[in-house]
């Protein structure tokens, strides 16, 4: 039994819903009690989809449990087929449905429905949403894809894009960006799936020479199967950030059988603003900003690379809730000399953020709340998503345009370069005081709650007993507010380590030099 306040992922049947909803003509019959329909609002409200998810819930009640819930399932499946006339159906159970062991797969077989029915086994008590999406899409491929026509020679390299789903973090825009990139390289995109794919498109998967695995969390199981079954290799690089996009271009060119010159010629033409913006002197202030990154594995690994090598930040902590990809994140973390935090307990993440006191948090909506509480700047780079993660504008994370978006995303929450100097210079000015936050972030009234960090950092008993001398306290106030909390904490830690009882101005500067990087 696990005590949970918030959860990073929903149950696996929500993953299945993300696949069914992404596709155009697949219907999902879910053996579930009333109340499980809440998941519809994720799609209609958070993602603002224009149609209800194609899901029928059997809605069994307590009084049905003694009677015949399997009859209820069969009626629902029969009715759904008649009413919605889908090209294929997937059937399964939610967490409660699983407990009553009605075997939706077996039951629907006996119905003899006139469409392919794909049974799902999604263990709700051990697996989660992303795995559920990956498994569902794999099962759909496994049942439908082999029946497609044999592969033909198309004269040009052909690929599929695998992994985007409904409710994904910027999937809609990433697909547009990557389809454009591939087409400009001279690679034909055969099928994008599951997002906007039909059952008929699944039949056509065979036609590709290779697959682009855009979101490993949702697409890798299917990609592995496609590789085994149709000998289609797939990409390992996720094109988020300038470097990763360049690597991705080289990788797809190799898979497409193009020579290296083809890839390099293409890359030479590309203009991403990120490299220049990062080298522009205005960005000097970004140097070594301490950043903490948490989210799904794909976005965390990518964000760390961008943060460290493309923005010049320092990665002080990173981790993921995607246990299936823990090893990848651990390996990536080694590059930055940190240990990956693998957990789906948001309180643990909060504790890590609190201990590390980063200057920027890159995470999901959960980390946004943690950062807000701790008074830290934060940008959202990964699921779980909320309505604001579906912006009206074109806002991909992938490809060269995605890299531009990332530059803005990673900089926006921070105090801008010149502004930082001004804040320092005018810190005693009554209007331009250092409690005024960055002007581009409207905090209402311009007075940010000062010292949020020290208020929320529980000091250890020894650090508690420390006394700040008046001059040191005064000097501390001269440090810009956005680093003051950290300075206080570091100084107290230093003093405690040194066995000092009182912090003088001397101690403050001793500590500063001790911790200076």
């Amino acid at each position: 039994m696990q005590l949970t306040v918030w959860t990073y992922e929903g149950p696996p049947h929500v993953g299945a819903m993300r696949v069914a909803t992404a596709m155009t003509d697949v219907h999902y019959v879910l053996h579930a009690p009333q109340g499980d329909t809440y998941a519809d609002l994720l799609f209609t409200m958070i993602e603002r989809r224009k149609k209800r998810p194609p899901v029928t819930y059997t809605t069994f009640q307590a009084r049905d449990l003694g009677a015949d819930t399997s009859e209820l399932f069969m009626d629902a499946a029969r009715d759904a087929q008649k009413r919605f006339n889908p090209a294929a159906m997937i059937v399964g159970a939610s967490c409660t449905g699983e407990l009553i062991q009605d075997d939706p797969g077996g039951l629907s077989k006996t119905l003899g429905l006139p469409v392919p029915v794909i049974p799902l086994e999604l263990p709700s008590y051990s697996k989660k949403e992303n795995w559920g999406a990956a498994e569902t899409f794999y099962q759909i491929c496994r049942v439908i894809a082999p029946h497609g026509p044999d592969k033909q020679d198309h004269g040009v390299p052909v690929c599929n894009i695998i992994g985007p789903t409904a409710l994904g973090f910027r999937h809609r825009d990433d697909v547009r960006e990557i389809v454009g990139l591939l087409e400009r390289l001279g690679i034909t995109v055969n099928v994008v799936a599951p997002l906007d794919a039909s059952a008929h498109d699944i039949l056509a998967l065979k036609q590709a020479d290779f697959n682009v695995c855009l979101y490993p969390e949702n697409g890798k199981i299917a990609c592995d199967w496609l590789k085994r079954t149709f000998r289609q290799d797939y990409t390992k690089t996720v094109p988020i950030g300038v470097g990763a996009t360049q690597d991705f271009v080289r990788e797809v060119c190799a898979l497409a059988g193009f020579d290296e010159a083809h890839a390099e010629a293409y890359l030479k033409e590309q203009e991403s603003r990120l490299p220049w913006y990062s080298r522009s002197i205005d960005s000097t202030y970004l140097t070594g900003k301490r950043v903490f990154i948490f989210g799904d594995a794909t976005h965390v690994i990518a964000a760390a690379r961008v943060a460290r090598f493309e923005m010049g930040y320092e990665v002080v902590g990173m981790g993921t809730y995607s246990r299936e990809f823990a090893r990848d994140v651990r390996d990536a973390a080694k590059t930055y000399g940190v240990e990956a935090l693998i957990t789906d307990d948001y309180l643990e993440v909060e504790a890590a953020v609190q201990a590390l006191q980063p200057e920027l948090v890159l995470g999901s909506q959960m980390e946004r709340h943690i950062a807000k509480r701790l008074g830290m700047p934060c940008a959202v780079i990964s699921s779980p998503v909320h309505v604001q993660d579906f912006p009206a504008r074109y806002s991909p994370q992938m490809g060269f345009e995605g890299a531009n978006v990332l530059f803005d995303t990673f900089v926006h929450p921070l105090t801008m370069g010149l502004e930082e100097h001004l804040l320092h210079m005018f810190r005693d000015d009554f209007e331009f005081n250092d409690e005024a936050g960055p002007s581009h972030l409207n905090h209402g009234g311009g007075h940010k709650k000062p010292e949020a960090e020290t208020e929320t950092t529980p000091a250890s008993p020894t650090e508690d007993a420390l006394i700040w001398a008046m001059d040191a306290e005064k000097e501390l106030k001269k440090i810009p507010f956005f680093v003051r909390g950290k300075a206080r904490r570091n100084t107290e830690k230093f003093a405690a380590d040194q066995g000092l009882w009182e912090i003088t101005m001397e101690t403050l500067y001793e500590a500063k030099s001790h911790f200076s990087r």
């Binding site: 039994m1 005590l3 149950p11 109340g35 989809r49 809605t59 709700s124």
Partner: protein
């Protein structure tokens, strides 16, 4: 309580139950597009300030809570989920030991908690996890610091607001007994926003009913006493089990319309006033000014809404009184009024006020109901979050019903706000030119 007026039993007018007029009800069985009772925790945990709600359930329950809450408004709310895992179900771990450990951890983290609800879910009900026994055991262990109760908010037994009903019903047996020979007392039952509660308290005071108690109270140790001299007035229509539990303890119901809109609130207060023999002049003096304010505020919106048709999907059991308000006070034409569950006794006044031609439906088959709605093309459709945007795309104007539950809408001072909630979607339609 100061007795300004004769006691009810001294007025010699025994309360006669008002009965419900016969009318056909369309009962449906099919896919229900409603929340389960766990969702009630969303407002209950804000209402009872030192209570904590621990759902014993699955990841789905936890996911529901954060999705339905409009996501994580409070960094650490007073609710959480103990997620059952494979090893619990496979019997590798003793579920009760596990639960004890979770509660231990929780209470260590939140020492200010005085009342803990163990809330049953679909999976915990299906595997017949005995939370009553767990609550008893844990109560003994944490006595006297924390009281531990249990109720079920599972979707196989409760819809949406029935969760509050189950919660309050679990509280009733623990309420202190009223002292022997206690004077008649008024208890208002059902969670109301604090601001609404305070308004009602003032109004009752002006009528000479100076010691009204509310269930639930804002603090766990401040729950009202109950007994044969308690007259209870429901502020929410979905409290079937709570009403029964109160009556088991001798309390008497005051049948009334629900306090929505000027007329609803007036009727609600009047029934209470009559029960306690408040003279007409005193009553009129107390309600006159706020009643007029409410009527003026409602009239502003009536212009826009009069003659417009409305279709209400089942959601919170507030649909019948809402429909009465739309019909009587805003002049709207009702087509179908759906409710997840219809308690005719509690809704008598409001139900009798609906015109005969209105279809009242109970339960749901969402696809069938959507077809009826589409063919009726109402000017305003009141429905849940899962349906609203798709219906807007089809050209219908919708009002999400959940807002009617999460917003303070009861009482005179909120009548204008309530009318505005229905007027806004139509207003928006006429404003937009894109």
């Amino acid at each position: 309580m100061t007795r300004l007026f004769p006691k009810p039993d001294e007025t010699n007018t025994p309360v006669k139950p008002v009965s419900c007029r016969e009318r056909p009800v369309l009962k449906e069985r099919g896919q229900h597009e409603v929340f389960c009772g766990l969702t009630g925790i969303m407002w209950l945990h804000r209402k009872i300030q030192d209570a904590f709600f621990l759902i014993v359930g699955s990841r789905t329950c936890a996911h529901l809570m954060q999705s339905a809450a409009g996501v994580m408004i409070f960094a650490e709310p007073r609710f959480a989920t103990a997620i059952m895992e494979e090893r619990d179900l496979a019997g590798l771990a003793d579920m009760h030991d596990e639960l004890d450990a979770v509660v231990e951890k929780l209470l260590a983290r939140r020492p200010e908690i005085r009342l803990l609800f163990l809330v049953g879910s679909c999976p915990s009900e299906v595997i017949k996890l005995d939370l009553g026994r767990a609550a008893e055991r844990l109560s003994t262990r944490h006595n006297p610091g924390v009281r531990i109760l249990n109720y079920s908010g599972s979707g196989i037994e409760t819809t949406f607001t029935q969760g509050e009903d189950a919660c309050l019903a679990s509280l009733v047996p623990t309420l202190p007994a009223e002292p022997v020979g206690a004077p008649p007392a008024l208890m208002v039952v059902g969670a109301l926003a604090d601001v609404v509660e305070d308004q009602f308290t003032r109004l009752f005071e002006q009528m000479g009913l100076g010691h009204v108690r509310f269930l639930p109270a804002r603090l766990a140790d401040d729950m009202p006493p109950v007994g044969p001299n308690t007259h209870y007035l429901l502020a929410q229509p979905f409290l079937t089990d709570t009403a029964r539990a109160l009556e088991d303890r001798g309390a008497q119901i005051i049948q009334a319309p629900f306090p929505l809109g000027a007329q609803g609130t007036h009727g609600w207060l009047k029934e209470a006033a009559d029960t306690f023999g408040v003279p007409q002049s005193v009553f009129d003096k107390a309600v006159q000014a706020p009643m007029q304010r409410a009527q003026r505020a409602v009239a502003l919106h009536r212009e826009r809404l009069e003659g417009k048709s409305a279709f209400l999907f089942p959601d919170s059991q507030l649909e019948i009184p809402m429909a009465r308000f739309l019909h009587q006070e805003l002049g709207m034409e009702l087509t179908e009024v759906g409710t997840p569950y219809l308690n005719k006794r509690l809704l008598t006044h409001d139900l009798n006020a609906l015109p005969d031609h209105v279809t009242v439906s109970e339960g749901q088959d969402v696809d069938e109901q959507l077809e009826r709605c589409r063919s009726l093309k109402p000017d305003l459709t009141v429905c849940g979050l899962g349906l609203a945007n798709p219906l807007e795309v089809e050209g219908l104007t919708t009002k999400w019903s959940i807002e009617l539950v999460f917003t303070p809408v009861q009482g005179f001072e909120q009548s204008g706000d309530l009318a505005e909630l229905f007027a806004r979607p139509l207003n928006r339609r006429t404003r937009l030119a894109v």
